[in-house]
């Protein structure tokens, strides 16, 4: 098996402002060509982490290596291999989309010809051709975010930091943004994404690191995280109250919860095949008729609430 190559390696990263410990020892590793989502509520330390990784902020202790360069010592080298898309779309509002792209390209040290050619390519790719020569301040929120991302891609850096790229966007713009991000991933770009949206991490990321209160509280793939908190649930609905009552009696022991109004019960299951079959066998033996049946995987929302809730309790 080939050895995994980590493009971003963060070890025991700590940062505090006075007595306020924002990061209490973060560890991260991002493999080349994959996406890691940093998931956490507001104030968890996501943006602070990204600002440190993108050389905008100093840190107190630990080590941060990006593409083999130490961010504290080789900031300039790091800057030439990263692209940053911030929370507040940082483009020049008075310049046009094209002017923004060319200017940033030139500042990435691209030649004039390369910057202009690449700007055209990105305008096309990000569906901004019609608005290319209008000042950015006339852009809609979604367009501005696309321009902001395009700007960070102008020199095709191998590593991209996306700091809450869809916060505040309407659902349609969000999905358009996801498509763009997926295309980036298909091109082999290594991405570190921060988000407070579980669905976003679930949709896009290879690996998820959940942080809260400046600490990593869980990590793994979306599936691993879901498995770590909750079991799958089998949800059964019945025709009426007597059927429900009979089912409750028959399935006793495996019940998780029931709903009188909906005539439904939930059963925790370990092995989908085995346990679903067992439950159905019991019901058919007792001649209890089912209306609907569904297997629910725990959502990342369940994971997130379980984890951050636990965290709060530990601190209290």
């Amino acid at each position: 098996m080939p050895e995994k190559e980590y493009v971003i390696e963060v070890k025991d990263l700590k940062k505090s402002y006075g007595s306020n410990n924002v990061l209490k020892g973060i560890d991260l590793r991002v493999e080349r060509g994959t996406m890691l989502a940093l998931l956490g509520p507001n104030g968890a330390g996501k943006t602070t982490t990204v600002r440190i990784l993108s050389t905008l902020l100093n840190y107190d202790s630990g080590s941060v290596v990006v593409e083999g360069y130490n961010v504290a010592k080789d900031a300039d080298k790091v800057r030439s291999v990263i692209g940053l898309t911030g929370q507040s779309a940082a483009v020049d509002e008075l310049l046009t989309g094209r002017e923004n792209l060319v200017m940033m390209g030139r500042l990435y040290r691209l030649t004039k010809q390369s910057a202009a050619a690449r700007a055209n390519e990105l305008l096309e790719e990000f569906d901004l051709v019609a608005a290319a020569d209008r000042p950015a301040k006339t852009y809609s929120g979604g367009m501005r975010r696309r321009l902001d991302l395009a700007v960070s891609l102008i020199a095709t850096p191998p590593i991209i930091f996306l700091d809450e790229p869809t916060t505040g966007l309407d659902p349609r713009s969000r999905i358009a943004m996801w498509d763009i991000i997926k295309r980036l991933m298909a091109n082999g770009t290594t991405i570190l994404l921060t988000t407070q949206y579980l669905e976003e991490a679930d949709q896009l990321a290879d690996q998820i690191v959940v942080i809260d209160g400046g600490k990593v509280i869980a990590e793994g793939t979306a599936t691993q995280l879901k498995n770590s908190v909750g079991k799958d649930r089998l949800e059964l609905t019945f025709r009426d109250a007597p059927a429900l009552a009979a089912a409750r009696e028959a399935l006793d022991g495996e019940l998780v919860s029931f709903d009188e109004k909906e005539h439904s019960v939930s059963i925790a299951i370990n092995d989908t095949n085995e346990d679903v079959k067992k439950a159905l066998d019991i019901l058919s033996a007792k001649k209890i008729e089912l209306v609907t049946m569904a297997v629910h995987k725990p959502t990342l929302d369940d994971v997130f609430l379980a984890l951050t809730g636990k965290q709060k309790k530990e601190e209290a």
Partner: protein, 269 residues
Amino acid sequence: MATELEFEKKPKAVLAFIDSLIMIKRSSQHIIRNTDQLLGTFFQPIMFLVLFAAVFGGAISAALPPGVSYLNFLMAGIIVQTVAFGSTTTAIAVCNDLQKGIVDRFRSLPMTNLAVLNGHVVSDLFRNSISTIVMLLAGLVIGFRSGASLADWLLIVAIILLFTLAFSWLSAIVGVLAKSVEGVQWLTFIVIFPLTFASSAFVPTQSMTPLLKAFAENQPITHVVEAVRALMLGTPAGDHIVLSIIWSIGILIIAVPVASWLFRRKTSN
């Protein structure tokens, strides 16, 4: 990624210089795009010139040297006042950049960050030059006349440019320190307003109270105004030319490193 990208391969110093040129281009594009400021650049100087000449002209002419019209006297003062106020746009631009997060973007690029300041200061020079030319043309229309030679005019241009540069760098310091654009406006207002009015820009200093007169006659704006005025009117300039240049260079020697240091400090943690 279809396009094969080519990167500049030049010495570091050359790249840093190119960064400044890129930033100068950016800030200069702002001059045209920022329509509100454009009004300030073109109409405010004309308005001040016409208003001052019409309102104060009659009352002040008695205090002027014989044979000098108030418009001819006023021209130097109003130009210096306009550039002094105009230099505050550097502060606003720097403050804006810092507030809006675009400086963070620049900092994530492999560029020289100080180029941001250079860009604003140099474009300020362009904008103030436009204002000055507009004012001179408007002055000519309403009766301003000067007997200055080409050499005199070149000296006038040099003095005004140097002064503008100096005040823009001072202004850059304000821009880095200020917490909001409104703060910048207040700060520059309470500094520039007294400086321009407690000077010989609009009235001769003879009639001022002794304390005010002592202040007015020894501050940079009066030296710049007197130097430009003497060159325009062909009257003896005394030591005003030398003193105005010394003041401007003195301000630059202090303001450039201070502004750069503050900007670096602000943008590095």
